[in-house]
Symmetry: C2
Subunit: 374 residues, 2 copies
């Protein structure tokens, strides 16, 4: 395993590269802003820990009012529990005997809820709940966005599955998981709003159907960094599971706000710190951070202070950029902050966060759940 | 850190998912094929360890005649040395005092060579070589492909830098690094061949220029899995640094061979093992392996046996596919092998290889250099 690329108290420019930096002032501010938003709208906040994979950051969010965390994987949930988080929603379906055993065992230590979208999975969950003598809160995952994603269809299929869950030993039907993932990244606000409005209607209609059948939906969760205020103000969703807001990334940076201007509800707090290792021409540079240092699934990173530099190539260990018509403003050996294209998979490449405030390293935090994808 | 997802002797279908599988028969066959090709052409083979990040696999390659390994990062080189590899070329420029110190120290333990493309970097390398009392073989990295990548321009700039290296204490000018990275992934053979022919000409001309000035180029290295036979038969390159051939991936699977048919010089030996966790419709399925289990920079993974399944979405933990017009042939809970889009960054997400032969787990190997990007 990698040792950390820095030590407490050194200057930012002494940090070895590539390194995963967190601007602690911006992180604190983002945590406060989302906590304030949730509180203003009167909904609970359960941030997604798949973004940061750090129980330490989770506990900071909970210190500002978050009720717990969401996780996608049992391994993430275990890492959160080991780090002191006691209320966890696995916002995903979990298949396979060994993983279900771990859910049963973990539910003896901390509060665990989980999503289902099929009867066989609900039956398997019931089996481990009974075997471990625990009660699991179960959310029925409904597809609120219409593409090929997890979740049963809303309406009758959701009712059938909720009734099934309600009748199974060891399970308590708790409500609906109604997450419109792709909507988060729709650039223009009116389209984003319209997709979410539809999701809210679907969730509300399904809730009505279930409650008429005596199945109380106390818990309706979903939303993300791109649409949190829409679900929060819906009167339907009881909980937000936004995660990326603590860090932001270049992809979310392309969203537009309601006024048509850039979406700036949160600050960029996450950076890949990188050294310029080659200068092929006066207008180009190569960084020592490539596909193994910053996720490219949502596009290349953006250079801080040089948002219009043009990506011209790269590879496993290189990120090559050009500033056509202008001299590239950094020299060989200079260290520069990059905003990753997509925060979650980028964090998952690193063993350590290097937290800084102003220009001084203040925190070295393990990415405790890195690689825990089972 | 993740524990391994399997144990020796269990059946393949008992392996937990997502897992990084290696078909050991295919791996062995690929190692033999490339070793045979290099030997037939009379060139040395120094496979790139950035692909596998495993000294254990490196030693297998060396047992079949490879002279050592290439690495991109000092951390990778250290991991290889700790694992018993004694001859390492860092086929990259290394910047920063702490990394150069580590090169000096490592060169006291094993044979280390390194690339440069600037005089300041050569001077810094000389400084540590002298400080550690070692001699470093240094290759001048030349740009043989014309895009914005590392390397000085061929011809006079290369001559100037080689002369500089030759005059610096602790350094031995050893030859040229002439790697045409992008050419590896050019789909049609005639274009790929033409780009490499040009690179070979550039390397030969630069070698001639340097040798006329008394600078012997004993070592000319480059090439990759997509073009190895071209450089190998050039009479110019003395060494191949192909890496991906041991695993292959979906991206290399799109290359075409000289006869216009599919490029099938090597077998797919690397897979992401994944469970089907949701079946939204009869013709679609969702796998439990997303952006944190398989690299998407070169496209999504390909499902073994279902090469034409259509990618319809996904996210951090999901990969969503459809087989329009046909029932998706696997059921909820089934485990399926995926061929990753790009092998190197996929390997870098995992802590363990699960090696299998036929349907039985035979090896659990650490990805020793995972995350060692400094």
């Amino acid at each position: 395993m990698n040792g950390p690329p820095a030590s407490i108290g050194i200057s930012l420019e002494s940090v070895d590269t590539p390194a995963l930096l967190v601007d602690l002032d911006a992180l604190d501010e983002n945590i406060r802003r989302m906590a304030h938003a949730a509180s203003s709208y009167g909904v609970r906040l359960r941030p997604h820990a798949k973004t940061h994979k750090s129980p330490l950051i989770a506990l900071k969010q909970m210190a500002h009012g978050a009720v717990g965390v969401c996780c996608q994987k049992v391994g993430e949930a275990e890492a959160m529990a080991w780090g002191g988080v006691t209320d966890i929603l696995i916002s995903n379906e979990i298949w396979g005997r060994s993983k279900l055993e771990r859910i049963g065992a973990l539910a003896r230590q901390v509060k665990i809820a989980v999503c289902v979208d099929s009867e066989p999975n609900a039956e398997d969950l019931s089996g481990v709940a009974v075997a471990y003598g625990v009660n699991l809160d179960v959310l029925v995952d409904i597809n609120v966005i219409g593409d090929f994603r997890t979740g049963v269809q809303p309406g009758d299929p959701a009712l059938r599955l909720a009734s099934k869950v309600d009748g199974l030993r060891g399970l308590r039907f708790a409500g609906l998981h109604a997450y419109a993932g792709k909507a988060q990244h729709i650039r223009d606000f009116p389209t984003r709003q319209s997709v979410i409005k539809n999701a809210i209607d679907i969730a509300a209609t399904t809730r009505g159907l279930l409650e008429r059948e005596g199945l109380s939906c106390q818990w309706i969760t979903g939303s993300g960094t791109g649409t949190y205020h829409l679900e929060a103000s819906s009167g339907v969703y009881t909980e937000l599971q936004a995660g990326s807001y603590i860090f932001m990334d270049a992809d979310y940076g392309q969203n537009l706000a309601a006024d048509g201007g850039p979406y700036r509800d949160f600050e960029n707090s996450l950076f890949v710190y990188s050294t310029i290792m080659s200068r092929p021409t006066a207008d180009s540079a190569i960084f020592d951070a490539g596909l193994k240092a910053s996720s490219f699934d949502s596009g290349p990173p953006v250079i801080c202070g040089l948002p219009h530099a043009e990506w011209v190539g790269g590879g496993d260990e290189h990120f090559n950029v050009r500033t056509p018509g202008a001299t590239f403003p950094y020299a060989l050996g200079d260290k520069v902050k990059l905003i990753p294209g997509h925060c979650d998979p980028t964090v998952n490449m690193y063993d350590w966060y290097v937290g800084f405030r102003k220009d001084r390293v203040e925190a070295i935090w393990p990415v405790a759940a890195r690689g825990l994808n089972r």
